[in-house]
Amino acid sequence: MRVTRIGAALAAAGMLTLGLAACGDDGGDGGGTAAYTTVVDKAKGAKKLVVGTKWDQPSLGLKTGAEPEGFDVDVAKYVVKELAGGAEVEVEWKESASSNREAFLENGTVDIIFATYSITDSRKQKVTFGGPYIVAHQDVMVRADDSAITKPQDLAGKRICQAAGSNSYKRITDPPPDGELDLDAQLVGAANYSECVQKLGGNNLDAVTTDDLILAGFAKQASAAGGGFKILGQPFTDEKYGVGLKKGDTKTCEAVNAAITKMYQDGTAQKLFEKWFAGTQGLTAPTGAPQFEPCA
């Protein structure tokens, strides 16, 4: 008798957890591209794509509501629509952090990625890049009242942020080819750039250095909250933000490039840049589409 009661309780608990699991189980078929060999075919055929963006990057990809918002997100919407030949495409937004972008493309979790994704030689081995759709530049952000750092070379001996999964710090600390400036800066570890910015505001480090567009988003957010950061406006690298695609999907890559060309020709790109980055010192709006990388 007693045993059955315990058994019933266990079974009930099991059913409860299974039910709970089932009710959260929506995106079942996720990025399944089984029926389509390329993303552009899927956009045209299924009218449904899984798009990866950052969810924690102000002004680029930030999850403020049901769907994220920002420059990357708006570009993604434009490009996806062009891929489908102008038709509306149902987009499932999926967070793609720096640490799992390659894995998500490789295993088909997402179809296409717009997530501050710099085109580099080593990433080209694993990912096919469309674009770039914009060129960012590595720059340095410091507290507004900090007058000791006016150029990247001043970072020698200063505390700069090392965000897990990002290699931006290497440009400062390492010599070429991995790096650039080969300065003797101190690295302060952080889990992500939000933490870096928190530490910068709290005086726990002296400078955050990464792409100016990323920095601009944080600086804009901080100034709205009364905090003060400034970007030096001395870019020292080119970061070509590409559209991440599964390795070998050159057909989609060409289509993406055509969409980006159109986006610059009809003025959408400039409008979007203005919308998200207006009023940030040290940033210059792009005049035309960047030079595309060959699709491979």
Binding site: S99, E102, S122, K126, R159, Q162, A164, G165, Q186, L187, V188, G189, A190, A191, E195, Q198, K199, G202, N204, L205
Partner: protein
């Protein structure tokens, strides 16, 4: 296999950090745990309550959060700094966070160990006029420790494995981070994973055997 050989120096350097973290945390968490359990059985109600509250809160918080608090709360907000060098500062922050966390498990193990000491021992200690601290340190805790050697071994083994979560406190040098970094570069590599797992087993398995053996050898015969 080539991957393992190529990245072996990096991985080994990372793993040595895990070993260092483990060694320091083991000592600190045993000390802290003993202090905590003394608080929890002490005659002063305030200390008992404080000990209980601390253990219940910290033990029920995910380690990831404890470590994040140690970096963002203790270091960045409360200005607890151990070193001017950020790398070794975050090393000590991990040590602090992990020890504060593990100490609660040491405390709970010791408390259940105190339960294995027969009442007569405590009564006899009081009968010969020992004070609370004297009976605790001379009669109760020595027997309690011997009763919980094996469980303490499990706690320490769990702690060693937990050093892989150090990334949450911004410590980017130990083997889990190195492995992730390597996978991002080269893709998944089974030899690298197995290599690190074997390295951990080389540390944890002997501790398991040693504590098991010691537990039998030192068991209080009753």
């Amino acid at each position: 296999m080539d991957d393992l050989i190529k990245y072996a120096p990096d991985l080994l350097a990372g793993f040595l950090k895990n070993v260092q973290l483990s060694a320091v945390c083991a000592v600190l968490s045993l000390i802290l745990g003993t202090v905590l359990v003394s608080m929890r059985v002490s005659p002063t109600p305030v200390l008992r309550a404080a000990g209980t509250a601390y253990v219940n809160i910290v033990r029920n918080t995910p380690l990831t959060l404890v470590l994040a608090f140690s970096a963002l709360g203790l270091s960045d907000t409360l200005d607890v700094t151990f070193s001017d060098d950020p790398g070794s500062n975050s090393f000590w922050l991990v040590v602090l966070g992990l020890s504060l966390y593990t100490a609660t498990f040491v405390c709970e193990a010791l408390r259940s160990g105190i339960n294995t000491v027969p009442m007569g021992q405590a009564e006899a200690a009081r009968a010969i006029g020992l004070t609370f601290l004297q009976s605790l340190t001379m009669i109760i805790l020595p027997q309690a420790f011997r009763a919980v050697i094996a469980p303490l071994g499990s706690v320490i083994i769990a702690m060693i494995k937990n050093t892989t979560v150090a990334i949450a406190a911004g410590y980017l040098a130990e083997s889990a981070f190195v492995m992730k970094d390597t996978f991002d570069d080269t893709g998944v590599s089974i030899p690298i994973f197995l290599g690190i797992v074997v390295a951990f087993m080389i540390i944890t398995l002997p501790i398991g055997f040693l504590t098991g053996w010691l537990a039998n050898r030192l068991a209080v015969a009753r």
